[in-house]
């Protein structure tokens, strides 16, 4: 199970690396998988012998991947991207304040506000991960 979950994480990281834009679903899925595999690593490390063995090597390899690829490169990239997206969405919505609007325009705009709220919630979620990393260090 650890092998398959690590592989799934590896695939997600490779996919994220090759993308410029991620959906909220992809972001949340990636973070959940990172947290899932990190928990598995912590739990299995406690159970594994301290002597070198294939499982311990695999755990160390996975932790290295999370630390060097995800925490150091992908996570900051995602956080920067979300912050810029929020700034951009906010600016666009503010510039659309003026003037009379029809019922249809108001209700269509409301969907953009809802997208902004979802993106802001995702940013909070991503920032919570960052808080977790800083506590682990």
């Amino acid at each position: 199970m650890f092998d398959s979950e690590s592989q799934k994480l590896q695939n997600l990281i490779d996919t994220v690396n090759s993308k410029t834009d991620m959906t909220i679903h992809e972001i949340v899925e990636t973070y959940y998988q990172v947290m899932n595999v990190s928990s598995m690593c912590a739990m299995l490390k406690e159970q594994a012998d301290s002597e070198p063995n294939p499982l311990l090597s695999k755990i160390q390899e996975t932790e290295k991947m999370i630390s060097e690829k995800f925490d150091s490169i992908i996570h900051p990239k995602i956080l920067t991207k979300i912050s810029l997206t929020i700034q951009e969405m906010t600016k666009n919505l503010q510039s659309g304040h003026s003037g009379e609007k029809s019922k249809e325009q108001i209700e269509s705009n409301a969907k953009l506000f809802e997208e902004l709220r979802q993106t802001m919630s995702t940013k909070e979620f991503v920032e919570q991960y960052e808080t977790g990393i800083s506590h682990d260090q």
């Binding site: 919505l93 108001i106 902004l116």
Partner: protein, 273 residues
């Protein structure tokens, strides 16, 4: 009688939710005329409708019979006010209004309990203060967000409910010469309300004699989405105990955000022990 009106409003809301097929961000209703279920003075109903028709958050209205009651449905959008409040970081809780009818019923309870002044804290568009004024209570509306206070000033030509653009926890309440006030605290306990209430309680407690004469109304929720307070009272139990208050009444009433929720807002009325 007031409790019956409150119960009838909750039931009317449930029927409204069932039949409403619009797409607005917020929606609420006000009965068109007095009835057995809503024995409200016609002049008061006119003023409640006037608040909605003059208020720029509502962009559409239409007549609809809901259950046995002829109502006017008001459809609105508060997104730009939400955006403004998060931009300035001034507000502890984003603007999310209670229903106008709920504000009116809350003010009716305040009057029945013997209070003479209503202070609407974190008042949003000032609807609770406005409703209190309809009932001949003196009222004051304290709101930190300037865009919302500008909106309130559009509504004071009908009834002056005294809007103040101020931080409620820094406001000088002694300047109002309050005698028997009741403070409606905007915001759920879990959404910044506790911080706001604590700040205002500290200010009031520092004014001699006012603590014993003051009442408090806290907006709470029983929703399982929020961590419950160990002392209950819809999230306010710990604050009530810590400030030596006692809960004297509670009533469930609809708000904009409870439209899609099974539980409405629990308004907890409290006073000094």
């Amino acid at each position: 009688m007031i409790s019956d009106i409150a119960k009838n409003l909750v039931e009317l809301k449930q029927e409204f939710v069932r039949v409403y097929d619009g797409n607005s961000q917020i929606q609420e209703l006000i009965p068109k005329s007095t009835s057995d279920l809503f024995p409200i003075e016609a002049s008061h109903l006119d003023l409640l409708h006037e608040f909605a028709t003059k208020n720029p958050i509502y962009y559409n209205s239409f007549e609809k019979k809901i259950g046995s009651i002829d109502c006017i449905v008001y459809e609105g959008d508060i997104n730009k006010y939400w955006l403004n409040s998060i931009q300035h970081g001034s507000s502890k809780a984003p603007f999310s209004p209670t229903w106008i009818m709920s504000g009116y019923i809350g003010a009716m309870f305040a009057k029945e309990l013997g209070y003479s002044e209503v202070i609407d804290i974190g008042s949003g568009d000032g609807r609770i203060a406005y409703c209190a004024k309809i009932l001949d209570l003196e009222s004051y509306s304290i709101e930190i967000d300037d865009m919302l206070v500008d909106l309130q000033n559009l509504l004071t030509s009908t009834l002056n409910f005294h809007p103040y653009c101020a931080d409620a926890i820094a406001f000088d309440y002694s300047s109002l010469n309050l005698l028997r006030p009741i403070f409606f605290i905007g915001g759920l306990a879990q959404m910044g309300g506790t911080f706001l209430a604590t700040g205002v309680l500290d200010k009031i407690n520092s004014i001699s004699d006012l603590k014993q004469n003051s009442g408090w109304v806290f907006a709470g929720t029983l929703s399982q989405k929020y961590v419950p307070d160990p002392k209950n009272e819809a999230g306010w139990g710990t604050l009530i105990e810590k400030n030596n208050l006692k809960s004297i009444h509670n009533v469930s009433l609809p708000a904009a955000w409870t439209f899609h929720e099974s539980d409405d807002v629990q308004y907890i009325f409290a006073e000094s022990n």
